[in-house]
Symmetry: C2
Subunit: 156 residues, 2 copies
Protein backbone atom coordinates (compact mmCIF):
# COMPACT_ATOMS: atom_id res chain seq x y z
CA UNK A 1 0.00 0.00 0.00
CA UNK A 2 1.43 3.40 -0.96
CA UNK A 3 1.77 6.39 1.40
CA UNK A 4 -1.13 8.32 -0.10
CA UNK A 5 -3.50 5.42 0.31
CA UNK A 6 -2.69 5.24 4.00
CA UNK A 7 -3.13 8.98 4.40
CA UNK A 8 -6.45 8.80 2.63
CA UNK A 9 -7.73 6.02 4.81
CA UNK A 10 -6.72 7.98 7.91
CA UNK A 11 -8.43 11.11 6.62
CA UNK A 12 -11.47 9.03 5.75
CA UNK A 13 -11.79 8.18 9.43
CA UNK A 14 -11.36 11.78 10.54
CA UNK A 15 -7.81 11.18 11.76
CA UNK A 16 -4.96 13.55 10.96
CA UNK A 17 -1.94 12.04 9.32
CA UNK A 18 0.94 12.67 11.68
CA UNK A 19 4.37 11.08 11.30
CA UNK A 20 3.76 9.03 14.43
CA UNK A 21 0.32 7.80 13.46
CA UNK A 22 1.40 7.13 9.92
CA UNK A 23 4.34 5.08 11.17
CA UNK A 24 2.14 2.87 13.34
CA UNK A 25 -0.29 2.26 10.50
CA UNK A 26 2.40 1.60 7.91
CA UNK A 27 4.23 -0.78 10.21
CA UNK A 28 1.10 -2.77 10.99
CA UNK A 29 0.18 -3.03 7.32
CA UNK A 30 3.44 -4.58 6.25
CA UNK A 31 3.44 -6.94 9.21
CA UNK A 32 2.12 -10.46 8.82
CA UNK A 33 2.56 -11.27 12.50
CA UNK A 34 0.50 -9.67 15.27
CA UNK A 35 2.77 -7.37 17.28
CA UNK A 36 2.13 -6.17 20.80
CA UNK A 37 2.07 -2.46 21.64
CA UNK A 38 5.59 -2.77 23.04
CA UNK A 39 6.84 -4.36 19.83
CA UNK A 40 5.23 -1.65 17.74
CA UNK A 41 6.77 1.00 19.97
CA UNK A 42 10.21 -0.46 19.50
CA UNK A 43 9.94 -1.09 15.77
CA UNK A 44 8.52 2.31 14.95
CA UNK A 45 11.14 4.14 16.99
CA UNK A 46 13.97 2.15 15.51
CA UNK A 47 13.20 3.82 12.19
CA UNK A 48 12.32 7.27 13.52
CA UNK A 49 12.50 7.78 17.28
CA UNK A 50 9.73 10.32 17.66
CA UNK A 51 6.95 8.34 19.30
CA UNK A 52 6.35 8.11 23.02
CA UNK A 53 4.70 5.13 24.59
CA UNK A 54 1.54 7.12 25.23
CA UNK A 55 1.37 8.05 21.56
CA UNK A 56 1.60 4.44 20.49
CA UNK A 57 -1.25 3.54 22.81
CA UNK A 58 -3.26 6.62 21.81
CA UNK A 59 -2.89 5.84 18.14
CA UNK A 60 -3.66 2.17 18.53
CA UNK A 61 -6.80 3.12 20.40
CA UNK A 62 -7.83 5.58 17.70
CA UNK A 63 -7.04 3.19 14.86
CA UNK A 64 -9.02 0.42 16.53
CA UNK A 65 -11.95 2.76 17.06
CA UNK A 66 -11.78 3.77 13.42
CA UNK A 67 -11.89 0.11 12.42
CA UNK A 68 -8.53 0.30 10.63
CA UNK A 69 -6.81 -1.94 13.16
CA UNK A 70 -8.00 -4.97 15.07
CA UNK A 71 -7.06 -5.71 18.66
CA UNK A 72 -6.84 -9.30 19.88
CA UNK A 73 -6.90 -9.71 23.65
CA UNK A 74 -4.74 -12.49 25.06
CA UNK A 75 -5.17 -14.42 28.28
CA UNK A 76 -2.49 -13.15 30.63
CA UNK A 77 -0.38 -11.53 27.93
CA UNK A 78 -0.19 -8.19 26.17
CA UNK A 79 -2.84 -7.52 23.54
CA UNK A 80 -1.85 -7.90 19.91
CA UNK A 81 -2.78 -5.84 16.89
CA UNK A 82 -3.15 -6.19 13.16
CA UNK A 83 -4.22 -3.96 10.31
CA UNK A 84 -7.50 -5.39 9.11
CA UNK A 85 -6.71 -5.37 5.43
CA UNK A 86 -8.04 -8.78 4.53
CA UNK A 87 -10.64 -10.58 6.51
CA UNK A 88 -9.47 -13.61 8.46
CA UNK A 89 -9.95 -15.74 11.53
CA UNK A 90 -7.34 -16.27 14.22
CA UNK A 91 -5.43 -19.22 15.55
CA UNK A 92 -3.84 -18.85 18.99
CA UNK A 93 -1.18 -21.28 20.13
CA UNK A 94 -1.92 -22.64 23.61
CA UNK A 95 1.75 -23.10 24.25
CA UNK A 96 3.75 -20.17 22.87
CA UNK A 97 0.96 -17.61 22.56
CA UNK A 98 1.62 -16.83 18.92
CA UNK A 99 -1.33 -15.62 16.85
CA UNK A 100 -1.64 -16.68 13.25
CA UNK A 101 -4.16 -15.70 10.60
CA UNK A 102 -6.46 -18.38 9.27
CA UNK A 103 -8.18 -18.15 5.91
CA UNK A 104 -11.48 -16.45 6.22
CA UNK A 105 -14.71 -18.32 5.64
CA UNK A 106 -18.26 -17.43 6.50
CA UNK A 107 -19.49 -18.49 9.91
CA UNK A 108 -23.22 -18.89 10.58
CA UNK A 109 -24.54 -16.09 12.74
CA UNK A 110 -26.64 -16.72 15.83
CA UNK A 111 -30.37 -17.04 15.15
CA UNK A 112 -32.37 -13.85 15.46
CA UNK A 113 -34.36 -15.44 18.26
CA UNK A 114 -31.28 -16.06 20.33
CA UNK A 115 -29.97 -12.54 19.68
CA UNK A 116 -33.12 -10.88 20.98
CA UNK A 117 -32.67 -7.12 21.04
CA UNK A 118 -28.90 -7.28 20.86
CA UNK A 119 -27.27 -5.57 17.91
CA UNK A 120 -24.71 -7.82 16.25
CA UNK A 121 -21.69 -6.16 14.67
CA UNK A 122 -19.39 -9.05 13.88
CA UNK A 123 -18.60 -12.66 14.64
CA UNK A 124 -15.03 -13.85 14.78
CA UNK A 125 -13.70 -17.32 15.16
CA UNK A 126 -10.93 -18.00 17.65
CA UNK A 127 -9.24 -21.35 17.09
CA UNK A 128 -6.96 -22.72 19.75
CA UNK A 129 -4.42 -25.48 19.77
CA UNK A 130 -0.76 -25.92 18.90
CA UNK A 131 1.00 -24.02 16.14
CA UNK A 132 3.05 -25.91 13.60
CA UNK A 133 6.27 -25.37 15.48
CA UNK A 134 4.94 -26.30 18.92
CA UNK A 135 3.10 -29.32 17.55
CA UNK A 136 6.35 -30.81 16.30
CA UNK A 137 8.32 -30.29 19.49
CA UNK A 138 8.10 -31.90 22.85
CA UNK A 139 9.31 -28.78 24.67
CA UNK A 140 7.50 -25.46 24.47
CA UNK A 141 9.23 -22.78 22.40
CA UNK A 142 8.81 -19.94 24.86
CA UNK A 143 8.68 -18.79 28.46
CA UNK A 144 5.83 -20.85 29.81
CA UNK A 145 7.92 -23.90 29.18
CA UNK A 146 11.03 -22.42 30.68
CA UNK A 147 9.16 -21.63 33.88
CA UNK A 148 7.83 -25.16 33.98
CA UNK A 149 11.26 -26.66 33.61
CA UNK A 150 12.74 -24.41 36.28
CA UNK A 151 9.96 -25.32 38.69
CA UNK A 152 10.43 -29.02 38.13
CA UNK A 153 14.15 -28.64 38.55
CA UNK A 154 13.85 -26.60 41.75
CA UNK A 155 11.84 -29.28 43.47
CA UNK A 156 14.54 -31.88 43.02
Amino acid sequence: MNPDAIKRSLAGSGLRSTPQRYAVMAFLMKQTSHPTAAEIFEAVNRVDPRSSRATIYNNLRDLVQAGLVREVAMEGRAARFDATGTRHHHFICDRCGKIEDMDWYAVPRPAAASLGKRVLRECELICRGLCTQCASRRAPTQDSGLKERINTWKKK
Copy 2:
Protein backbone atom coordinates in the same frame (compact mmCIF):
# COMPACT_ATOMS: atom_id res chain seq x y z
CA MET B 1 -24.72 -29.11 41.37
CA ASN B 2 -24.22 -30.69 44.79
CA PRO B 3 -21.06 -30.44 46.90
CA ASP B 4 -19.94 -34.00 46.26
CA ALA B 5 -20.17 -33.60 42.51
CA ILE B 6 -17.87 -30.58 42.68
CA LYS B 7 -15.41 -32.42 44.90
CA ARG B 8 -15.43 -35.36 42.54
CA SER B 9 -14.74 -33.22 39.51
CA LEU B 10 -11.84 -31.59 41.33
CA ALA B 11 -10.42 -34.95 42.35
CA GLY B 12 -10.90 -36.15 38.80
CA SER B 13 -8.48 -33.47 37.68
CA GLY B 14 -5.97 -34.28 40.38
CA LEU B 15 -6.84 -31.21 42.44
CA ARG B 16 -7.36 -31.34 46.18
CA SER B 17 -10.63 -30.02 47.46
CA THR B 18 -9.75 -27.17 49.76
CA PRO B 19 -12.30 -24.72 51.17
CA GLN B 20 -10.82 -21.94 49.05
CA ARG B 21 -10.76 -23.88 45.81
CA TYR B 22 -14.18 -25.32 46.43
CA ALA B 23 -15.56 -21.84 47.05
CA VAL B 24 -14.22 -20.51 43.74
CA MET B 25 -15.63 -23.44 41.82
CA ALA B 26 -19.02 -23.36 43.55
CA PHE B 27 -19.34 -19.63 43.04
CA LEU B 28 -18.53 -19.85 39.33
CA MET B 29 -20.98 -22.67 38.82
CA LYS B 30 -23.95 -20.84 40.22
CA GLN B 31 -23.03 -17.66 38.34
CA THR B 32 -24.65 -16.90 35.00
CA SER B 33 -22.53 -13.79 34.48
CA HIS B 34 -18.79 -13.88 33.84
CA PRO B 35 -17.02 -12.43 36.87
CA THR B 36 -13.50 -11.02 36.91
CA ALA B 37 -10.89 -12.36 39.33
CA ALA B 38 -11.48 -9.32 41.52
CA GLU B 39 -15.23 -9.97 41.64
CA ILE B 40 -14.66 -13.61 42.50
CA PHE B 41 -12.24 -12.59 45.25
CA GLU B 42 -14.80 -10.27 46.78
CA ALA B 43 -17.77 -12.60 46.46
CA VAL B 44 -15.97 -15.62 47.85
CA ASN B 45 -14.59 -13.72 50.82
CA ARG B 46 -17.93 -12.14 51.65
CA VAL B 47 -19.17 -15.63 52.51
CA ASP B 48 -15.99 -16.92 54.15
CA PRO B 49 -13.02 -14.58 54.28
CA ARG B 50 -10.23 -17.12 53.97
CA SER B 51 -8.91 -16.57 50.46
CA SER B 52 -6.04 -14.31 49.55
CA ARG B 53 -5.79 -12.69 46.16
CA ALA B 54 -2.93 -14.99 45.18
CA THR B 55 -5.07 -18.01 46.04
CA ILE B 56 -7.87 -16.82 43.83
CA TYR B 57 -5.45 -16.41 40.93
CA ASN B 58 -3.72 -19.71 41.69
CA ASN B 59 -7.00 -21.55 41.73
CA LEU B 60 -8.35 -19.90 38.63
CA ARG B 61 -5.14 -20.87 36.84
CA ASP B 62 -5.41 -24.47 38.04
CA LEU B 63 -9.10 -24.74 37.21
CA VAL B 64 -8.53 -23.34 33.73
CA GLN B 65 -5.67 -25.77 33.18
CA ALA B 66 -7.91 -28.60 34.32
CA GLY B 67 -10.53 -27.51 31.80
CA LEU B 68 -13.15 -26.93 34.50
CA VAL B 69 -13.19 -23.17 33.98
CA ARG B 70 -12.89 -21.04 30.88
CA GLU B 71 -11.04 -17.75 30.74
CA VAL B 72 -12.15 -15.03 28.36
CA ALA B 73 -9.57 -12.31 27.69
CA MET B 74 -10.95 -8.81 27.25
CA GLU B 75 -9.46 -5.92 25.32
CA GLY B 76 -8.21 -3.48 27.89
CA ARG B 77 -10.14 -4.95 30.79
CA ALA B 78 -9.68 -7.68 33.36
CA ALA B 79 -10.15 -11.24 32.14
CA ARG B 80 -13.46 -12.94 32.91
CA PHE B 81 -14.20 -16.50 33.92
CA ASP B 82 -16.98 -19.03 33.73
CA ALA B 83 -17.43 -22.64 34.72
CA THR B 84 -17.69 -24.55 31.48
CA GLY B 85 -20.75 -26.56 32.39
CA THR B 86 -22.72 -26.19 29.19
CA ARG B 87 -21.14 -25.37 25.90
CA HIS B 88 -21.84 -21.92 24.54
CA HIS B 89 -20.53 -19.04 22.46
CA HIS B 90 -19.92 -15.55 23.79
CA PHE B 91 -21.32 -12.13 23.08
CA ILE B 92 -19.25 -9.14 24.17
CA CYS B 93 -20.82 -5.71 24.37
CA ASP B 94 -18.69 -3.09 22.61
CA ARG B 95 -19.98 -0.43 24.91
CA CYS B 96 -20.22 -1.74 28.48
CA GLY B 97 -17.93 -4.77 28.17
CA LYS B 98 -20.46 -7.24 29.53
CA ILE B 99 -20.12 -10.84 28.38
CA GLU B 100 -23.21 -12.90 27.75
CA ASP B 101 -23.58 -16.53 26.82
CA MET B 102 -25.07 -17.35 23.43
CA ASP B 103 -26.72 -20.64 22.64
CA TRP B 104 -24.22 -23.11 21.34
CA TYR B 105 -24.32 -24.29 17.77
CA ALA B 106 -21.75 -26.09 15.71
CA VAL B 107 -19.30 -23.94 13.79
CA PRO B 108 -17.50 -25.30 10.74
CA ARG B 109 -13.84 -25.96 11.44
CA PRO B 110 -11.06 -24.68 9.22
CA ALA B 111 -10.21 -26.99 6.33
CA ALA B 112 -7.42 -29.46 6.97
CA ALA B 113 -5.42 -27.84 4.18
CA SER B 114 -5.51 -24.46 5.87
CA LEU B 115 -4.62 -25.98 9.24
CA GLY B 116 -1.47 -27.63 7.93
CA LYS B 117 0.44 -29.23 10.77
CA ARG B 118 -1.31 -27.24 13.46
CA VAL B 119 -3.20 -29.21 16.08
CA LEU B 120 -6.69 -27.83 16.60
CA ARG B 121 -8.17 -28.09 20.09
CA GLU B 122 -11.29 -25.92 19.89
CA CYS B 123 -13.01 -23.19 17.95
CA GLU B 124 -15.02 -20.56 19.74
CA LEU B 125 -17.18 -17.84 18.33
CA ILE B 126 -16.87 -14.32 19.69
CA CYS B 127 -19.79 -12.11 18.70
CA ARG B 128 -19.52 -8.38 19.21
CA GLY B 129 -22.05 -5.61 19.20
CA LEU B 130 -24.41 -3.98 21.67
CA CYS B 131 -26.12 -5.83 24.49
CA THR B 132 -29.87 -5.47 24.94
CA GLN B 133 -29.50 -2.73 27.49
CA CYS B 134 -26.92 -0.69 25.58
CA ALA B 135 -28.83 -1.08 22.32
CA SER B 136 -31.87 0.59 23.81
CA ARG B 137 -30.06 3.55 25.34
CA ARG B 138 -28.37 6.48 23.78
CA ALA B 139 -25.85 6.76 26.63
CA PRO B 140 -23.49 3.92 27.54
CA THR B 141 -24.25 2.16 30.78
CA GLN B 142 -20.73 2.07 32.15
CA ASP B 143 -17.39 3.77 32.49
CA SER B 144 -16.31 4.12 28.89
CA GLY B 145 -19.32 6.31 28.35
CA LEU B 146 -18.76 8.32 31.47
CA LYS B 147 -15.22 9.07 30.36
CA GLU B 148 -16.51 10.13 26.97
CA ARG B 149 -19.02 12.50 28.47
CA ILE B 150 -16.49 14.00 30.85
CA ASN B 151 -14.04 14.56 28.00
CA THR B 152 -16.64 16.25 25.86
CA TRP B 153 -17.70 18.38 28.79
CA LYS B 154 -14.14 19.38 29.71
CA LYS B 155 -13.44 20.80 26.28
CA LYS B 156 -16.35 23.24 26.50
